[in-house]
Symmetry: C2
Subunit: 342 residues, 2 copies
DNA sequence: CTGAAAGCGCTTACAG
DNA sequence: CTGAAAGCGCTTACAG
């Protein structure tokens, strides 16, 4: 059964397409009688405007694109949820693409979205992305672009982030405040800006308290699919090599939970022998034993804020107002649980 | 900077729009010389065809819709990943909507997708969906619809599922085979067809082995955000009320892990005192201690198969071939781990 | 209050 | 091998 068009409604009613169009959109210069007639028939026929035609005329699609490094990831799926919830409220649809942390794929996906003529783009960039030409293309086409979580500092666009350094300082400071004397760090990939910033925050906290920084106490996790295993392996190495370490700040909860498991297997007591602070506040962290002290990373809020900012810029552009880029930094908080001392 | 159009290319080259269009699409009746000229200029100008216009002409958008009850969910995020991976290969974009298990929202979202004129729809329905009018609308508009995981048996369309009854029978049979004499079941919501089928499978296994079914041994979990807690609570109740139970088949891994935690806290040994089998093979299940025996539910494969089937139907329709609906049942397997006896 | 007309940017059947 | 023309289904400035 083929779709109903304005022309069909117009013919049945013996009026013009223009009038039907205007009636449906409640233009003030159409008589109430005509409006009623048109609307009734439209409902009866289950008329749905052809989005392709509307988009072509209005040059907007009420659709945005979202590129994200990974879907199967608690933090990111929360971000997506935040974005979708907000987008739905404002009548926007979201096309989602997963870059798999690949710069090449990300570049191709930007091109796809641009061809699709989405109204704007939301992106959390891949760790491997070092060139930003594909992203400036978006901007130079006059399309709003909002980056979140994994951002390119150099790019002139709006950004939604947390303060990774501060959060890492808070985490490390808590270890110091609860009496830890020698503190290790399990960091993320060398290329990830978030990991770098958390690492810097860790060092800053040590410095602020006149603790000696020891690069031997820093372990690297790729934070891929085997994060948990990496946590276990590094925890074992740590215990074997550095018996004097009494605190560890870990880049990600999943890795931290791996570490907790290893400690438990080795008979190392948490927090008596070693205190642990994670990062992200994954839902399992409150539930395991001992529960994990961690930094809450507000994924849902980040998604919400990112969409809202994109929406604001969409409106600004539409109303020919100057587009104002914003850097929005959301609060993180330390959640104290049983893996650190009181 | 405004977008380049065919007309602009045609003007610069002093040829017609038709020829430019055909050159770009490698029509055989355009000279190689012209093609080369056109393609070169198109590249230089960074020409991207206006999808709105193309869609309007061709009546297809190379975009599909996906409605899913929840994004923040390990199984579903894996399904999404499977769909996106496959869609990308075939040049399709995916608009994702989350129904939050709400029938009303689901209905609205179907309407949104239909207005957007997506080429087809992939859906896993909400537990609360009992009317399927919105879904038959899709079909009656001649749009392919493929349901996966949570399906409506009554609807005439393609489906991708696992055999929940068989999987549950396998799980329960394994408990029986490893010596359990009195077996409990933690089931999911009363309205969820999957939960119902798993419950039936549990009963069938009992019957097949002449075990008495005892409704007192069946506990209900809503399987929402507090699945883990529900697992703990029910495990505690179970141990208090039914000391003779020596095996339990649990609807979902997360609930099962909650139960394992409660057992551990209460000093109930797994599998010596009680054996546990979960369902879904969540990645944490292999990693906790004791590791969890479970049914592998192949989310990624389900997503892949669902898209492939949709794609097949899209092609059939396009080539005016008869559209053949398929019910695809993917294999599940019992993964034996440390929470059951050998 | 209503309608004719132009046009968004493409594709494709047809003519030459 | 090239191009003129029609048309996809809308929206909106303009005329009456």
């Amino acid at each position: 059964m083929s779709q109903v068009t304005l022309l069909q409604i117009a013919d049945k009613l013996k009026i013009s397409v223009s009038t039907v169009s205007k009636a449906l959109k409640d233009y003030p210069d159409v008589s109430e009688k005509t409006k009623a007639l048109v609307k009734e028939l439209a409902t009866t026929l289950n008329y749905k405007p052809n989005a392709f035609a509307v988009n072509l005329r209005t040059k907007e699609s009420k659709t945005i694109g979202l590129i994200i490094p990974a879907i199967v990831h608690h933090f990111f799926s929360n971000v997506i949820k935040g974005i979708l919830t907000q987008a739905e409220k404002k009548g926007y649809l979201v096309i989602i693409l997963q870059s798999n942390e690949s710069y090449e794929l990300e570049k191709k996906q930007i091109d796809l979205l641009l061809r699709q003529r989405v109204d704007g783009i939301l992106i959390s960039i891949a760790n491997s992305t070092r060139n930003f030409g594909h992203l400036s293309d978006v901007l130079s086409q006059g399309k709003p672009l909002v980056m979140f979580d994994k951002i390119a500092k150099i790019l002139e666009c709006s950004k939604v982030v947390i303060d990774d350094r501060k959060a890492a300082r808070d985490a490390t400071q808590h270890l110091i405040d609860t009496g830890c004397k020698r503190i290790a760090h399990f960091r993320g990939p060398l290329l990830s800006q978030n990991s770098i910033d958390r690492f810097i925050g860790y060092r800053e906290a040590l410095e602020n308290n006149n603790y000696v920084y020891d690069s031997d106490l820093v372990y690297i996790c790729e934070c891929g699919d085997s994060s948990f295993e990496e946590g276990k392996i590094n925890a074992k190495k740590l215990v074997q090599k550095h018996k004097d370490v009494d605190g560890v700040f870990i880049n990600t909860d999943l890795v931290a939970i791996g570490a907790l498991t290893a400690f438990s297997e080795m008979g190392v007591r948490v927090p008596d022998d070693i205190s642990v602070v994670g990062f992200s506040n994954w839902f399992m962290s409150s539930v395991i034993s001992p529960s994990l002290t961690t930094i809450n990373q507000p994924g849902y809020k980040i998604g919400k804020a990112a969409f809202k900012q994109l929406y604001t810029e969409l409106k600004q552009r539409k109303n020919n107002l100057p587009v104002v880029h914003k850097k929005i930094t959301l609060n993180t908080e330390l959640i104290k649980r049983a893996s650190t001392k009181v």
